[in-house]
């Protein structure tokens, strides 16, 4: 079953690609749609079935497709493992993935590259499922890299515009920097456990063989991978730019699924990370810092998708706080809920964008709530969810994280998390109000009609955003924290009285409400774009100049180094050495040939000199006394 789940999207992707390349101009809307969505429907059904089985208490599923490589002790199989963690992941990935596919069918309908899009999209699904279901870290890494590839392809989907490709390159490169760390971590892990097998189970069983230092190093390096993939400081800069891709892509890849791979990875290696709490704290700090940082930037952005992108980064920060503080299940819980409301937000944003004829600046929209009623309502729900207003999904998951932070005694992280929660509410509602409430900026506009397949998924997701939180209601709210029990991850146990939890929740909710009110005050009627008039604003609007910093710090030196090598090292040093040696020989030859002056008496003189030298040699050799 797992084999089918993983391979089917790959196969359909390949099939669509072949058909597409066969004739790129042909419109085969139905064919591509049925292939692309059909395969997803099948695997969604399959994954939900397995989820059901698992909930009935079925054991972890292991399947082996074939042996990938066997060289010495390096024995890797293309094998899949569905334990409780991964089954949760694939369930919502396939579910939301299917919805977004359906949505995309509407969104991309008129695009010339429709077939290509579905090929890429299915490729992404396959890669993501491979990542999640992999039985060993190497296969996970393969999936890890392939999702990076499909993300690259999809970001650069509109390749006519060089800026999009640039964004795609940036995404892939920064992901690769992360992968660079990841592969090093994996290699060290493998070398440390050489001969003990390399499936997750085997690693878990033998984790005690590795000493603390090495383990710390491995943990750190693996997290570098997560930083790249999940857009955490300092490797986050690609995510806002990644919004260059079609909106369904942003919804699926850069919000709901791929970016959470880092969180999933940490959770998958939870057995490793519980051994090294220091690294855990580091992860949490990075998460907290990223969350705040992204929230600040988001508050000053005006591109609807970029705001969502920064909010994604911010939410990912929360997740890392959770997994860093060894509360893996609450991290995964947030991944789960976030997937619903963030996908919803993006799809809503996409709908708005389509309706507005590809206008993405929120300050050029305004007062859409009447015309896009359904979109408005669903997005409102999602915004409530992300802001952590009970009883929407986000409340429970975010609360669980903040409670953990508080309980574990890392108050600084907790403070940042709480502040960010308020800020989240502010900037999300800022966006919502600017788009749907504020006065319209232009008098006349004709909205592009939205097809049904773009709106129905919104409803489904809105339902999800509303109720998804209930799977993780913890004791304080009378639930049993079903998801945490189901996942069976090595969570830290939190000891906090119910009253403290209520207090924390109250604080969060009031902060969120405060942010919401503030947003309404500022943007509810007259939305105005932030102007870089003060230094403070300027810095924030320019995203703290991090992009420029990276440019000067890495790209420019590399380019000048490259030119330096081309013009100086290669030409002057290596070639120069050769050329000068040759020149030296030629100059010597030139001097020598000047002896060849054509005068016969000169020739006789050389003869004479030769004979004289010989005679002197003989005198010396024979020891003749003169």
């Amino acid at each position: 079953m797992l084999n089918i789940i993983v391979t089917l999207p790959f196969l359909s992707s390949l099939l669509i690609a072949l058909i597409y390349l066969g004739n790129t101009n042909a419109k085969r809307f139905v064919l591509y749609t049925s292939l692309g969505i059909g395969s997803l429907v099948i695997i969604t059904t399959l994954s939900l079935m397995s989820l059901y089985d698992m909930m009935q208490g079925a054991a972890t599923i292991h399947t082996k497709l074939f042996e990938w490589i066997h060289l010495g002790d390096f024995q890797i199989e293309v094998a899949f493992m569905a334990d409780r963690l991964s089954i949760i992941m694939i369930s919502f990935i396939t579910f939301i993935g299917t919805l977004i596919h359906i949505y995309a069918a509407g969104y991309m309908k008129d695009d010339a590259g429709y077939g290509k899009f579905f090929s890429y999209f299915n490729l992404f699904m396959g890669s993501m499922l491979l990542l999640v279901l992999a039985d060993n870290p190497i296969m996970m890494f393969v999936g890890w890299e392939l999702v990076g590839l499909s993300s690259y392809l999809l970001i650069g989907f509109y390749h006519q515009d060089a800026a999009n490709i640039k964004a795609a390159n940036k995404a892939f490169m920064l992901n690769r920097v992360g992968d660079f760390g990841f592969i090093m971590g994996l290699s060290i892990l493998f070398i440390s456990l050489e001969g003990h097998g390399f499936s997750f189970d085997a690693i878990k069983a033998n984790i005690a063989l590795i000493d603390y230092q090495t383990l710390t190093l491995i943990g750190l390096l693996l997290f570098v991978g997560a930083m790249g993939k999940s857009a955490q400081i300092p490797l986050y800069v690609w995510l806002p730019d990644a919004m260059a891709g079609p909106t369904p892509v942003s919804a699926l890849i850069h919000a709901a699924t791929m970016v959470t791979a880092g969180v999933y990875m940490v959770a998958r290696f939870s057995f490793l990370y519980i051994q090294i709490p220091d690294i855990g704290l580091f992860i949490a700090s990075i998460g907290a810092f990223s969350a705040l940082f992204a929230a600040i930037i988001a508050s000053y952005q005006s591109d609807i998708k970029k705001i969502l992108a920064y909010s994604t980064m911010s939410q990912l920060g929360y997740m890392f706080i959770a997994v860093g503080l060894e509360s893996y299940s609450s991290g995964i819980f947030h991944v789960f809920t976030h997937a619903f409301f963030k996908a919803l937000l993006f799809m809503g944003a996409g709908a708005v964008i389509i309706a507005m004829h590809h206008e993405q600046n929120i300050f050029k929209m305004g007062a859409l709530r009447g015309e896009l009623k359904l979109t408005y309502i669903t997005m409102f729900i999602a915004t409530l969810a992300i802001s952590g207003i009970p009883p929407f999904a986000g409340f429970f998951s975010k609360d669980a994280i903040l409670v953990t932070a508080f309980a574990s005694g890392h108050y600084a992280i907790w403070t940042i998390g709480t502040l960010t929660a308020g800020l989240t509410a502010f900037y999300m509602f800022r966006m919502l109000f600017s788009v749907f409430h504020a006065r319209k900026s232009k008098a006349q506009r004709v909205l592009h009609p939205l097809p049904k397949c773009m709106t129905y998924p919104l409803i489904i997701l809105a339902i999800g955003s509303t109720f998804a939180g209930f799977v993780g209601v913890n004791g304080a709210y009378g639930g049993e924290n079903f998801i945490a029990h189901f996942l069976q991850l090595p969570d830290i146990s939190v000891h906090l009285s119910h009253s403290s939890e209520y207090m924390l929740a109250l604080l969060n909710v009031s902060l969120a409400l405060f942010g919401m009110t503030l947003a309404y005050k500022l943007y509810g009627h007259r939305a105005k774009e932030a102007q870089p008039d003060t230094l403070f604003k300027k810095v924030i609007i320019n995203k703290f100049y991090i992009d420029a910093l990276y440019e000067t710090l890495f790209m420019k030196p590399l380019l000048s180094l490259s030119r330096f090598i081309a013009t100086t090292v290669d030409m002057k040093i290596f070639d120069g050495f050769l050329n000068y040696s040759i020149l030296f020989y030629r100059v010597l030859a030139g001097q020598f040939i000047r002896l060849q002056n054509g005068k016969v008496r000169a020739y006789a003189l050389y003869f004479l000199l030769g004979v004289s030298a010989m005679s002197l040699f003989l005198i010396y050799k024979l020891g003749v006394n003169l």
């Binding site: 020989y585 020598f592 002896l595 016969v600 020739y603 006789a604 050389y606 003869f607 010989m614 024979l622």
Partner: protein, 495 residues
């Protein structure tokens, strides 16, 4: 009586041929081709006699009652004879086109060539220093005359003048050396010298060493070793193509015939006196030759310069003999063959081109040659590769044996230098290939391959060059590289 004359028949037929040609050369009515055929007839006759008497008379002397032991007949001499004869035959065949294209050739040319050949034959058999000198002079004087054969051309006369002045100067040293040796030994036969040296434990052999060194000066001069090299480039350039070819290939072999005889056998015990000197000369020759060769723009002069480098390789072999390498002497012989084939081939192509036009062939003139004459260019490439010592040609095996000998005798640095100059030589040989293939010619008309004696013999030589490089013991009925080395070893052993 007649039977004892049998081994001398090759000599005699050449001498007879020379005289016949000389006498006939007055008749203007006889065409050049008839002369050519006549010369070839005598050469073939000599070769035939040589082959049927091959190995019959090892160690015999020619009419000891008359000549005492001035002339020896052994396999060593015989094999050199065969080389001279074949060399001359090839020289005549390859240049038949060139002869036709130049009006200054006449019957004397063939007569002189055969006289010079007669000198060489004598040289390989000479077992006495004065005989060797006279043989050398016969060969040289004829070659002097041949160099200046094109008497209306200034450079030809100039080349002859230079060669004569310097050649006579070198010749003087030979007889000076002979006189000095005679002063000590009281005889000039090689036997008695060897005998003297054999019993020379307590005697003062200074004079012998000095005399031997002077002999060596002449030999070094004739093969063009630095610092006695200065004539080579000029004379090779000034001489008509057939003569250049003849000097570079056959004449050089002749010099080594006497050099090997002297240093392998008679002076073997005192070789160590010369060793350092020889090594220094070798180093100078290798480097100086490559200096000369890379600076030239005329292909003929480049080949002249490179022939100095090849002499350097041969000298490596000679000094290896001094250090007691077993394979050095066959290596030298093999190298001579290899160089002979490649040089005859490359000069042959030059002379073929010269027979079509009257330009001096510079590198630039070869531009687009491959377009005009693809097969010629291919053969030229083969010869260049062989000269450069590229594997799968006979030139590679030649270098292989020489360097092996050098390493065997412990002259690692010399072998290294040899390999280095071989590397340098790749530059000037490949430059010619590059010129032929990589540039478009002005006239792009492809000419068909002219089927005549010259070109066919060049093609035959090209095949031999390849066969010599890859000829295997698989086909035992055709002697490959192996067969020749065996022969050379046998010849060396016969000394």
């Amino acid at each position: 009586m007649i039977l004892t004359l049998l081994p001398a028949l090759p000599f005699l037929s050449i001498l007879l041929g020379a005289f016949v040609l000389m006498l006939l050369s007055h008749k203007k009515s006889i065409s050049l081709e008839s002369f050519n055929v006549t010369a070839l007839f005598f050469l073939t006759l000599a070769l035939f006699f040589e082959l049927i008497t091959f190995g019959l008379h090892s160690g015999d002397y020619l009419y000891p009652s008359i000549f005492k032991n001035f002339f020896i007949f052994d396999e060593f001499a015989a094999i050199f004879d065969v080389m001279f004869l074949i060399g001359t035959i090839f020289t005549l065949l390859v240049n038949s086109d060139y002869l036709k294209s130049r009006n200054y050739f006449s019957g004397e040319y063939f007569a002189l060539l055969l006289f010079s050949l007669f000198g060489m034959l004598m040289l390989s058999h000479a077992h006495e220093l004065l005989t060797a000198f006279i043989a050398l002079e016969i060969a040289s004087l004829s070659v002097y005359a041949l160099v200046g054969y094109h008497k209306s051309k200034k450079v030809s006369s100039e080349a002859m003048m230079k060669y004569m002045v310097l050649g006579s100067l070198a010749g003087v040293f030979f007889i000076l050396g002979t006189a000095l040796i005679y002063a000590l030994v009281g005889s000039t036969t090689l036997e008695s010298i060897a005998l003297y040296l054999h019993n020379a434990e307590e005697k003062d052999i200074t004079l012998l060493v000095v005399g031997g060194s002077f002999l060596m000066v002449t030999i070094l001069f004739k093969i063009g070793a630095v610092p006695f090299h200065s004539w080579v480039v000029d004379v090779y350039h000034g001489a008509p193509y057939p003569i250049t070819m003849y000097m570079a290939s056959t004449f050089k072999i002749a010099i080594f015939a006497i050099a090997l005889r002297l240093y392998l056998v008679d002076f073997a015990t005192i070789n160590s006196f010369w060793l350092e000197m020889l090594q220094i000369v070798t180093i100078l020759t290798l480097i100086g030759g490559s200096f000369l060769a890379i600076s030239q723009t005329l292909v003929k002069r480049m080949l002249a310069g490179s022939s100095i480098v090849h002499s350097g390789y041969l000298l490596i072999g000679l000094s290896s003999i001094g250090l007691g390498s077993d394979i050095a002497a066959p290596a030298i012989m093999f190298y001579l063959i290899a160089y002979f084939l490649s040089a005859v081939g490359s000069f042959g192509i030059l002379s073929f081109i010269a027979s079509q036009s009257r330009r001096q062939m510079s590198y630039d003139d070869f531009k687009g040659f491959a377009n005009r004459r693809p097969y010629m260019a291919l053969m030229m490439t083969i010869f260049m590769l062989s000269l450069a010592g590229f594997p799968s040609t006979i030139g590679f095996l030649g270098k292989f044996y020489i360097f092996s000998a050098a390493i065997e005798s412990g002259q690692i640095l010399l072998a290294g230098l040899g390999i280095f100059t071989a590397f340098v030589s790749v530059y000037y040989y490949f430059k010619l290939i590059a010129m032929m293939y990589f540039y478009e010619s002005q006239t792009d008309k492809q000419k068909s391959f002219p089927l005549n004696v010259s070109t066919l013999s060049i093609a035959l030589i090209a095949l031999l060059v390849i066969w010599g490089g890859i000829g295997t013991s698989l086909l035992s009925f055709i002697p490959g590289a192996d067969g020749f080395i065996d022969l050379a070893k046998q010849a060396i052993n016969s000394l």
